[in-house]
Amino acid sequence: MSGNSILPKVIDDATCPGCALLCDDLRLTIEGERLTNVESGCAHGRAWFAKANIAPNTPIRVGGQAADLNAAIARAAEILTEAHAPAIWGLAQATIETQRVAIALADHTGALVSIEGQDTSSLRAFQRVGEISASFGEVRDRADLIVYDAVENPHLPERFVERFAMPLPGRAIVWIGSEEAAREFGIEPNLVVTPLIGGQTSFYQGLRAIVREAVVDLTRVSDACGVEIETLTQFATRLKEARYGAFVRCGLGANEVLAEAKFKLVRDLNSFGRFVITHAGSKFSNGAGARAVLTWQSGSAGETDFGPGIPRYVPCDGLQSRLDAGEIDALLELAPSGQSPAQGRSIPRIVIRADIDPLPDTNAEVEIPTACPAIDEGGNMLRVDGVMLPLTPIFPGRRITQVEVLRLILARLQETTR
């Protein structure tokens, strides 16, 4: 500790926005203006919090030149006013508070809203058949069978197992995916089933048929999914015999039909014991929150166009296709990554992002670096299983926040409308 007598400050039960698990049991130690220790978090979470000490202090820019906040707000408002078809993109790592104002801004400007990293295939499958789910505590406390769905680009947050799925006597673990991947994530399964990537739909549809004792050509299923008949039937029996099974999806739904096959299998397993399907969560800390806010404000959970003066769900005519068609003429981006779906296009972009990583020039017309949730911005985020958690900022008030910036833009727009 330095010579002055500032006592270290400890924040207990801090929420980590390092990924969608939002672990809220971290202990942070702060000495003066520095975060000096992070306990309980995983390596990724600790690395994430370590950025609290970096503070790149990227300047506000308008047209590539350093500018003051007022000028940036004015220019952003001007771009949005002049646009005929603006869009707002990102949101998946912003707080609920920011998301609420962002959707208000979309409503006001008639923008298309698109949430970064959304699993639209799963959303559409959910809209067709529903979903049988549970909060993670149910999985932790009840599951006697945990099935990891990890065939394609699996992603399992580091603390998922530790927090919700510890191996226990009487709890069987099945890994659907490759043995190497299971090892990589430190899972020691009782059974590994490895369907072909392209054979997954047949695999789940076949399992469902076996479970329901429907007429099914097992040879065809086996050929299509690359899993032996015996393994298929054994696995089906195991699924049926579970008292409380949990099917944990690790990664995005590759396509709607496959996602639907999984939802239906899990649903129908509830005719035997209990079975739920959950998602282990992605790197987008508050993608679930973005979807929830958009849904309660607009009635629509997916890409939504406020252009007609009403919210319109446009599942087949979203941001990417409109960008490709040249129909979007301004983009407001709310994502810390600096990656843009409109990179290289000649439309004005407004980037409002948590200034956490030093980024190369974003080439945006307006760039407003802001505070970062959980570091110098409070607010709330929604865990993937529907549990909302508050953030406890380490350095509150240090920089202007995203929600404040959006409010200023909205206020400016409302002034000009009057």
């Binding site: 959910f126 058949v129 009840r142």
Partner: protein, 550 residues
Amino acid sequence: MSLLKIANGYVVDPSNGIDDVRDLWIENGKIVAPPNDPGVRPDRTIDATGDVVMPAGVDIHCHIAGSKVNTARAMRPEEVRRGGAVNRTDVLRSGTLGSMPSTFTTGAKYAGLGYGTAVDAAIAPLAARQTHFELADTPIIDKAFLLLMGNNHYVMNCVRESADAQLRSYLAWVLNASKAFGIKVVNAGGVEVWKAGKGRVSTLDDLVTGFDVTPRAILTALTSAVDDLGLPHPVHIHGQNLGLPGNADSTLELMTAIDGHRAHLAHIQFHSYGGDLKTMSSRVDVLADYINSHDRISVDVGQVMFGETTSMTADGAVGQFLHKVTGRKWYSHDVELETGCGVVPITYDNKNLVHALQWAIGLEWFLRVDDPWKIALSTDHPNGGSFLAYPQIIALLMDRGLRADTLATLPEKVRERCPLGDFSREYSLTEIAIITRSGPARLLGMKHKGHLGVGADADITIYRPDADKARMFSLPRYLIKTGRVVLDDGELRSAEEGNLLHVAPERDSEHEQKIKTWFNDHSTMRFANYAMRENEVPQAAVVASGEQQS
């Protein structure tokens, strides 16, 4: 602050026994006495000559927020599309309709019906935080919500140990922490049993696996605890066997079991059936007799209206049952330590005997309960239908001809199995005012709502009399909310956020340490992150708890 006068209206204010032409004066959001000085000029006068003036409506039981409602919105784009959308205006955000309107639309549509307050009847404590955000985006009306406690593990542990003081402390803590208004019980213990995959609970004396308690014990402990805490609203109960033919016996047993306590039984229509799947019939007679002869129990109806809607309940088993019966999509979500949740689309079809019976049985309830103060209008929105159907229900209650006409279009067997056609009773305006505002406000213990006496919240609706009662009640001329003219001669003028009403019973800090330890051992979130923080609910307003009520 400006002074508003509503002049010369026909004032229907049953709580104060008023049913005549008079003026009302409003200042600072409250009803005030007429000024002594006849020279005082109001800043604005609304001429209500020939109009009917009532307190604004109070909905005692609906589902308008929280993860269950919101996930239902996300799951049903086809229903959102069917319902249509509402354009953004200078005062109101855009939104969508259907059986689960988006938040801004929900607030505006309640206001548009002349309602000033709505209570969401089923929020899991773990979902309280999201609920507050949704309700903050639900403008104009005042809002409150009830916490699901009938399958809560801590509660059931207390019941098993007969730890009454501990139970009271827990309820006091959770109500304060989540800024909720009251306690709801959904299928006591039965949701836990279903979640655990142990089948169904169908009687009050079945055992809740893992907890060694019975639904009866849970119900009696909670009703006593709520009375002891002096909460303004008694325990709000969703009984057993919802929607199942033959369930009236268990409903009667439930009424008997809580005898002597205050209690409110929700959507009673869904719990009033005799017979079996083939012979289902009305048993309102016995149940309404019980209500008529007991003073501490009230009901809301949960009226079914024909058309498309969405069923949603904390009773997970009901979701599964409806999915099996209808084959439609099913969302279920188990909430750790607390509750379940089931959502299934449903179409009430007037050619379907069961649905037609449900419609008739609901109306029979309104007509059989002698004292309108004991029965509140609800559709269990959106379960039986949308709150937007309230004017049509009012019309059915006020006009026996309309009832007979509708009944005649239903399957023949309805008339054999439900005596609705035998009732000639027609509701008066006063009785309508009671079941839609004064009664619910009184049952909720909201002393400042549901009446127009001096000191009451100036939540006032002005209707233009119309022979077409459905039209009259769907198009109020004015809504004054907290003294502000929100609906001005049919035009929506503003959509500011209303209050979030909650209780704040006295806490027991010593016991809270135990709760904290238990919570941290069992929840997947930390105790420190559970309670709503300072300033997170800026519109929060406390409704005082009273004396011990038992």
